[in-house]
């Protein structure tokens, strides 16, 4: 290593590039396939089973039992009250939708802009999107007083001659989240087909049957590839506005209301940036966990990826700070007394630590750590930052939902919110998310092998005088 340091200013050796860049470190396809298969099919360790059992227990208690109890007894077992009619349920909904933005961001926006570092972890991020949206759905349905009638929110002809109210941001939410969930699931599935076909070719038993069904008979003919490529291009472009619309509409749930502190025009982009902030943070955590717990993953996921995501996180953090300040400034300047009261309550109220915690986690921590290229390439450090950002973003949503709900225009009704059943339910959704992910990591190839291979085809080293640089060919 010392040599490399010494050589820093000079031309790097080829080994250095190979070590650093996955794209310059090609392995035969067969070997790579085996690595991915092995990471997936390796005999589950006791650690795996412990995790699964513990998570299942948490899901069973936190989600299944508590929710059943809440349906039977009413929302009274939760902590929601007047005026905090929405509590952690909506905090979690926004949080999970935020998490889900990472997958689309990585696999759609980075794909459109041909950011090559995305290749090995698009799938891992897409899985986060889908599973995160499931949790968001759970959270939003949980908070309904009569969830057994939630089908009324979907448009369908009925004898009552009633349609859902299209004036309501919640209806838009439902449409947008449904659209987003379906699209992101499809977008997860399309690039998965060739990898499943690969897995089909090298597995036996139940896996074989499963992959056979999932692969749909994919062989890799020119036509199949062409259709797939076309579809993925359409998806990559079209899902970006859908993603933006989802979180904008979520922000309208708040911004469209007549409440002080909520009625803000900047909420749309503010929420989107916030979503990316927490989403990238979550993605980096997931990557670090995958890398350290699954076989061969340190080949696919390297420092360079953490470095690249770290850069993105830093930029997003700055953008978040910009939007936060923008929102704050306008609200502060507006002079509405209730808004002033609310801003003051955010900072000086009993949960003021949360407000400062939010700023610390979302701005101070990323800015302090992510500017350094070497720290950025350190997985544990970046993922810790990611975790902290997620805590900060959860705080932000908590401040926007129950804390802001505390202050309204009727001071006689102001009241603090103390969560009750929301806590097991929230932990239950988190556990379900992890559980789904852990189980999925056993059946779904987390690395899109064909995309990595495609990338490795396109990368080479090129010499300009004494300088050796990485060169990428545009294959598409």
């Amino acid at each position: 290593m010392a040599d490399h340091k010494h050589d820093a200013g000079h031309a790097h050796s080829e080994e250095h590039f190979r070590e650093k860049h996955l794209m310059l470190d090609p392995l035969p396809r067969g070997v790579m396939n085996d690595m991915v298969m092995e990471s997936m099919t390796g005999k589950p360790t006791w650690k795996f089973w412990t995790v699964v059992i513990v998570l299942s227990a948490i899901v069973a208690y936190g989600l299944v039992y508590t929710w059943a109890k809440m349906i039977a007894e009413g929302l009274g077992i939760a902590g929601v009250n007047r005026p905090s009619y929405w509590g952690i349920f909506l905090v979690n909904t926004v949080f999970w939708i935020g998490i889900s933005h990472a997958g689309t961001f990585i696999s759609a926006i980075l794909r459109v802009f041909k950011a090559e570092f995305r290749r090995p972890f698009t799938r891992a991020a897409e899985l986060m999107t889908t599973f995160g949206l499931v949790q968001a759905g759970f959270s939003v349905f949980m908070h309904m007083g009569r969830v057994w009638l939630s089908y009324w929110l979907f448009p369908y002809p009925n004898q009552r001659m009633l349609w859902p109210n299209l004036h309501s941001p919640l209806t838009w939410d439902l449409l947008a989240i449904t659209t987003y969930l379906l699209s992101s699931t499809m977008y997860l599935f399309l690039p998965l087909i060739p990898d499943v076909a690969m897995a089909r070719d090298r597995s036996t038993g139940w896996r074989k049957s499963l992959y056979k069904v999932l692969a749909l008979g994919f062989r890799g003919t020119e036509g199949e590839w062409a259709h797939l490529r076309n579809a993925m291009n359409i998806f990559a472009f079209a899902i970006i506005p859908v993603m933006f619309s989802v979180h904008t509409i979520v922000s309208w749930d708040f911004a469209a209301a007549t409440r002080p502190g909520w009625n803000s025009t900047i909420f749309g982009p503010y929420f989107i940036v916030g979503a990316l902030h927490s989403g990238m943070g979550a993605a980096v955590v997931v990557l670090a966990v995958i890398r350290s717990n699954m076989k061969h993953m340190d080949y696919f996921i390297r420092g360079e990826h953490f470095d690249a995501i770290g850069k993105l996180m830093l930029i997003i953090s700055m953008a978040w700070a910009y939007f936060f300040f923008n929102d704050y400034m306008v609200q502060w300047y507006g002079g509405d007394k209730w808004t002033h009261q609310l801003l003051h309550f955010h900072e000086a109220g009993p949960l003021g630590w949360m407000w400062f915690g939010m700023l610390f986690c979302n701005i101070v921590v990323p800015w302090a750590i992510l500017w350094n290229a070497k720290w950025r390439a350190t997985p544990w450090l970046v993922s810790t930052v990611g975790l902290i950002i997620n805590v900060g973003m959860w705080f932000e949503r908590y401040i926007i939902v129950p804390i802001s709900l505390t202050i309204n225009r009727m001071p006689f009704t102001w009241r603090m919110y103390n969560p009750g059943a929301e806590i097991p339910l929230g932990i239950g959704t988190l556990a379900l998310f992890i559980l789904l992910y852990v189980l999925a990591s056993k059946v779904i190839p987390l690395i899109p092998v064909w995309e990595v291979q495609e990338g490795q085809m396109a990368h080479e080293l090129k010499k300009f005088g004494r300088e050796t640089v990485v060169s990428v060919s545009e294959l598409e």
Partner: protein, 241 residues
């Protein structure tokens, strides 16, 4: 079929039913609250929940303090109930059309059947006068014998609020119709107004300039709460004093 273009938006009108509340003579005695609860089958929720902002009062009496001891003064009691806004913020946000505007009566309706319990309406109510059934609150036998059969008994998971005693409106209209006449001013009133020992609450047709409530409302210096939000409330308050 209804032809929407023929339905006048209530914002252009004065509303239909309205109330005038005189805070100067309201003694805060809570008779209106009790009368409302008895008339509308409003449930009691017990000490713990009522102390946690879950009480179901459809009407509450607010009061604040001004000054420091010994110059302290209680602000005039302010009965706060659904203002039956002509342009209600609660209405558009309900995804299920559970809270809608009654074109016939110019009231805010809460349709319990249709309510799925998103509580968005309550969030968006600037007056915070909606109450949610957080649980199935127990009313042990034989307390249910007292239920008013004209009003639904709500159960957990639905939002509820003051209806301006719409059951009384219907009853009076039904009676007047069967007798072939119009409902007379003062023929009936809401439970709270009927009970109020100080007559601080007056209810009636605000679109009829001859009615007592219109005349009181136009006496001057009356305020409509949070009118600046464009909610077009139908309750006028007189602070007096």
């Amino acid at each position: 079929m209804i032809r929407p273009e023929e339905i006048k938006m209530s914002a252009e009108e004065t509303g239909k039913w309205g109330m005038v509340i005189n805070q100067d003579i309201c003694t805060g005695c809570q008779a209106c609250v009790a009368a409302c609860a008895m008339e509308n089958n409003v449930t009691f929720v017990g000490e713990e929940d009522s102390g946690y902002g879950r009480s179901m009062h459809w009407i509450r009496i607010e009061r604040f303090w001004e000054g420091e001891y010994p110059e302290v003064k209680m602000t005039p009691n302010q009965p706060m109930l659904c203002q039956q806004c002509g342009s209600a913020p609660c209405e558009p946000v309900c995804p299920a059309f559970a809270t809608v505007h009654s074109t016939a009566e110019s009231l805010n309706l809460q349709v319990y059947n249709r309510c799925v319990g998103t509580r968005y309406c309550a969030n968006n109510c600037p007056y915070q006068v909606r109450s949610f059934n957080w649980r199935d609150y127990e009313r042990p036998e034989p307390l249910p014998n007292q239920f008013n059969p004209d009003v639904t008994v709500r159960r957990r998971g639905v939002m509820e609020k003051c209806t301006f005693c719409i059951q009384r409106i219907h009853k009076a209209q039904d009676k007047a119709k069967s007798e072939g006449r119009e409902v007379a001013d003062g023929e009936f009133t809401t439970a709270c107004a009927q009970a109020c020992p100080a007559n601080a609450i007056v209810f009636g047709r605000v679109d009829n300039p001859q009615s007592l409530v219109s005349q009181l409302a136009h006496k001057g210096h009356g305020v409509k709460h949070l009118e600046e939000l464009g909610t077009l409330p139908n309750v006028t308050y007189f602070k007096g004093g």
